[in-house]
């Protein structure tokens, strides 16, 4: 993959950073580099993953404190330049808190921390994150979250639908998300946030490979 390098952001409390790095390096032969959240130099990475976990202990609200890190401040220019950013689980929460994606993620309707495999409908492959679904419109990915209920107002939902920004919807909504939303993109398509964990579905020995394509899409221009 030439020298294409994916930056994997590490916050205090991130816990899926190594899984993401393992999936990218070990399964896809894509180079990765850990980026400590206090770094604001993104010059030597070509795409960024905000991994899952509990940044800053989920204090105040999930993703609320991480939003003020130097790295997230630097992310604005990175996104504007068209480079790709993938936020998984806590990464999705950070992307909504910081305004890169609309809406918010709140406590699951049943208050349970849900750790399960879920079936997902591909609604849009804007940005090319899910272009692998020509023959397969449903994928299966693991979820693991207590606060994954996507919420937005009706105007925002209409915009998401009209502009085809909804990437994934749960087949059997596990957490009470508005409109069964599991993942959305920005209008340009270069930012994707989703609650399911593609990095945990990259090898048959751990239950499936439906996450591979989305991670591989990080190298798309």
């Amino acid at each position: 993959m030439d020298n294409f390098t994916v930056g994997v952001v590490v916050f205090p409390g991130s816990n899926c950073d190594r899984d993401v790095s393992w999936a990218l390096e070990g399964c896809l032969d894509i180079r990765t580099k850990y980026l400590w959240h206090e770094s604001s130099d993104l010059s030597d990475v070509d795409a960024i993953v905000l991994p899952g976990g509990f940044s800053y202990g989920d204090y105040l609200r999930c993703g609320a404190i991480a939003r003020f890190s130097p790295l997230i401040n630097a992310l604005d220019e990175f996104v504007k330049s068209g480079k790709r950013v993938l936020g998984i689980c806590n990464g999705f929460q950070i992307l909504t808190e910081s305004g890169f994606l609309p809406g918010a993620l709140t406590a699951n309707k049943n208050l349970n921390f849900i750790c399960d495999d879920v079936e997902l409908d591909i609604v849009s492959s804007k940005g090319g994150w899910f272009n692998n679904v020509d023959e397969k419109q449903t994928i299966k990915l693991p979820i693991a979250h207590g606060e994954g209920r996507y919420h937005c107002d009706s105007d925002t939902l209409k915009k998401l639908v009209d502009k085809e920004l909804i990437a994934l919807r749960y087949k059997n909504n596990p957490n009470g998300s508005s409109f069964d939303i599991a993942g959305i993109t920005n209008e340009k398509g270069n930012v994707l946030g989703l609650m399911p964990h593609p990095e945990r579905a990259c090898d048959e020995t751990i239950g499936g490979t439906d996450g591979l394509f989305t991670l591989k899409s990080l190298i798309l221009k």
């Binding site: 909504t96 699951n108 309707k109 208050l111 919420h151 107002d153």
Partner: protein, 84 residues
């Protein structure tokens, strides 16, 4: 410089489901409390802050509430302010 004690109340917007409030309401009823029509859980944040007068402090608190203490997509806030 004046010092103020500020109490910020952050609440989920009425349109946002509050599962923790619902669970607590259910437990309240099991405890035997009667007549509870609604129960919703919010946060209270206490801040001691210095500034040149109430207006300056209000500006600071407004910024903190809008950008950090509350996520205005899902939450409303209000605060009371007392000069110390």
């Amino acid at each position: 410089m004046d010092q103020f004690a500020v109490k910020v109340f952050v609440r989920l917007r009425p349109s946002v489901l509050d599962p923790a409030g619902e669970a607590t309401k259910s437990a309240s009823i099991k405890l035997g409390a009667e007549g509870i029509k609604s129960l919703r859980i919010g946060k209270m944040i206490e801040v001691k802050i210095e500034g040149n007068g109430e207006n300056e402090v209000r500006e600071k608190i407004d910024l903190l509430c809008d950008r950090l203490f509350a996520n205005t997509v899902i939450e409303d806030y209000e605060y009371s302010l007392e000069k110390l």
